[in-house]
């Protein structure tokens, strides 16, 4: 495993090194002293493994493709934003907009996530062991958001075709988000997501939330919902 110490390396040099790995590379990297720096390990394209030993700032693992990025600490705003594929795991808590607009891959947050977790998600799967803040899955289009703890107010506001599973309590649901029957397919999907994420939770305790699809087309009768 190659070790890169950010106490003596610039963000640009780190990212350039990681981004230079070829498509077939399975190299492993350990990054020391991240010190809350922003945009670490972003724009990766190869299936490499990157382990960051400490807290990271904004947009860690942004737009990730294929790589496995593990943060042994807390993550700032927009961790794994617009991720396309791969795996990003935060061992601590995540700030706002975790997994924002992600198109694919799996984001695992071992702690809790702040507001707008999964905002505009477009196919990413997100598993949060703890709780999520307000307006999580806002305008979520596709993918799954699994919340093992509680969800604050505004969950799933203006949600499209993404699906949310919640084990704990929910605050007031967002516009056009409703609780829906948990089917056998849902149980299977949830069980697989929990297994892939390595999070232990009982699928039987979860409820499903999705779009009521009442706001998909503009209707004046829905004025109070906008």
């Amino acid at each position: 495993m190659e070790s890169i110490d950010l106490a003596s390396t610039t963000t640009r040099d780190l990212n350039a090194r990681l981004q230079s790995e070829a498509d077939g590379s399975n190299a492993a990297f350990e990054v020391l002293h991240p010190g809350g720096r922003h945009a670490l390990a972003c724009g990766l394209t190869a299936p490499i493994a990157v382990t960051l030993r400490g807290h990271v700032g904004y947009y860690c693992a942004g737009m990730n493709q294929n790589a496995t990025v593990t943060v042994h600490g807390n993550a700032g705003v927009g961790v794994a934003e617009n991720m396309m594929s791969g795996l990003v795991r935060v061992m601590g808590d995540a700030s706002q907009s975790a997994g924002a607009s992600g198109h694919g891959g799996l984001l695992v947050i071992e702690g809790s996530a702040s507001a707008r977790c999964g905002i505009s998600m477009k196919g990413i799967d997100i598993v949060v062991k703890g709780s999520v803040g307000h307006n999580s899955a806002f305008m979520a289009q596709a993918g799954h958001l699994v919340i093992c703890g509680d969800a604050e107010d505004g969950l799933g506001d203006s949600i499209y075709e993404a699906v949310i599973y919640v084990s704990g309590e929910t605050g007031k649901l967002g516009a056009d988000c409703e609780e829906q029957p948990m089917t056998a397919d849902d149980r299977q999907t949830l069980t697989e997501l929990l297994a892939r994420s390595g999070i232990e939770a009982d699928p039987a305790t979860f409820r499903r939330y999705g779009s009521a699809r009442s706001l998909y087309n503009f209707k004046i009768d829905n004025l109070g919902s906008y």
């Binding site: 640009r12 990212n15 945009a39 724009g43 904004y58 493709q65 705003v77 396309m84 505009s120 503009f218």
Partner: protein, 441 residues
């Protein structure tokens, strides 16, 4: 329109248009959504004139002495800045709002004259990249179709905060224009009214924007110029903040800027005109010491002629951007389609239902049959012709003012025909030395 009898007096406030809109709203129960830009009269470049040469200024020979038009965008931080041959670019317009043939035609036209075109909501299509030698990729709040591979393929990145037709408003693409391909690109079901978010999902405010720009540079190896586009509103402060956030290029879109689909109340009543916006933005750049040397200013919103181009540049822009005019050059609103416009309840020169997807010119549509009406090769050539005319007109004016490059035009070359324009552009009212608001009165 029926001409009223002489004794009938129309209300200035409740005129026929206002009455018609009240009746329509009462009948349909929904606000009016349309395309195009602001239609009401606002102070514009028409209210300015160039002084031209005189005893104290001598002109350049029109067809003999060189007048440069090239622009370099993004050299402040990008290792690969964009070089344009003319100071006129094509504004961001989405595939979805426009047909694939229209996007191709825009790329072909821009290529012919050495300028850039811009993606829009929904991401980058292969055809668009393939037909645009210089392509600016927009990072929009919706992040529809946002793909890091496309970021890396782009020649520049434009972070869109707002547009002139609707500063503070998100986008919309009505269900009738959501083809299977558009739906797939945006990861949304077909036939729904697609709302594009008005705020970015992962940053808020200038401090965050600075970090976002850093991420974009890290993602693309610090190669690409980063533009920040704002709708004209608090333009002076927006420009200051965008530059301090690290933008290489500021794009300011005035309220006359076009849109594919927006509420009419937004189009006509939110934002400020292009005329004051260009001056406010250039003031901010001058205050920071980066005007004409570091950060470039692109101005859009109501650019129609080479005179508009020259006036925008004289007031501080490095380049202008066109959207509505480009679509008209492709064939929008042309008289040959009068019968078809009539079937839609409109007429050439008035057609603005770009949201509806029934465009007889095949431009603002996703209908496969209508789309075929636009020949992208011929359309692209018409656009190139138009861009050449704009450039030649701007050069003609610059030479008349004695300038060997259009960027040498300056506010001192202008005077205003109205008090409003004099105050907004901060140039003297014609025939006086008076600039309203300056000198204590």
């Amino acid at each position: 329109m029926t001409k009223p009898a002489p004794h009938l007096r129309e209300s200035h406030i409740f005129d026929r248009a206002a009455i018609h809109e009240i009746q329509r709203a009462a009948r349909e129960g929904i606000y009016k959504i349309r395309g195009f830009g602001a239609k009401r009269a606002v102070p514009h470049f028409d209210d300015l004139v160039f002084l031209g040469a005189s005893v104290s200024r001598y002109p350049l020979e029109g067809y003999r002495e060189r007048c440069g038009t090239d622009v370099v965008l993004g050299a402040r931080n990008a290792s690969k800045p964009i070089h344009l041959d003319i100071p006129i670019t094509i504004a961001g317009m989405s595939f979805g709002s426009l047909s694939a043939n229209a996007k191709e035609a825009l790329g072909r036209g821009a290529n012919e004259v050495g300028t850039s075109t811009t993606t829009g909501d929904g991401g980058m299509t292969d055809e668009e990249r393939g037909h645009s030698n210089k392509l600016v990729y927009q990072l929009l709040p919706s992040r529809y179709g946002m793909n890091p591979d496309h970021l890396r393929k782009a020649d520049a990145i434009e972070v869109v905060i707002g547009q002139g037709a609707k500063p503070g408003g998100g986008g919309m693409l009505l269900g009738q224009k959501i083809s299977p391909r558009v739906a797939e690109m945006r990861t949304l079901p077909e036939d729904i009214d697609q709302r594009s978010a008005c705020r970015h999902p992962d940053w808020t405010g200038p401090d965050d924007l600075e970090i976002k720009i850093e991420e974009l540079r890290e993602l693309t190896g610090w190669e690409k110029p980063i533009y920040v586009k704002v709708g004209a509103s608090r333009t002076y402060y927006d420009t200051l903040l965008a530059v301090k956030s690290g933008a290489d290029v500021i794009v300011v879109d005035g309220m006359q800027g076009g849109t594919g689909a927006t509420q009419e109340c937004f189009i006509e009543h939110v934002g400020i005109p292009t005329l004051p916006a260009v001056r406010l933005a250039s003031d901010a750049l001058k205050e920071l010491g980066v005007h004409r040397r570091g950060v470039q200013l692109i101005v859009s919103g109501g650019i129609r002629t080479g005179a508009d181009v020259a006036k925008a540049i004289a007031l501080g822009a490095d380049a202008v951007s066109i959207g509505t005019a480009a679509l008209i050059a492709l064939g929008d609103n042309r008289p040959e389609l009068a019968e078809e416009y009539e079937k839609l309840g409109t007429a050439p020169g008035f057609y603005d239902e770009w949201q509806a997807g029934r465009d007889p010119a095949g431009i603002t549509t996703q209908d496969p049959e209508l789309e075929q009406r636009l020949d992208p090769v011929a359309g692209g050539h018409r656009l190139a012709n138009y861009l050449r005319v704009l450039t030649l007109e701007a050069q003609t004016i610059a030479r008349a003012c004695g300038k060997s490059h259009v960027h040498n035009l300056e506010p001192e070359d202008l005077q205003a025909l109205t008090l409003e324009a004099a105050a907004m552009a901060r140039v003297p009212l014609a025939g006086t030395g008076w600039i309203p608001g300056q000198g204590g009165f």
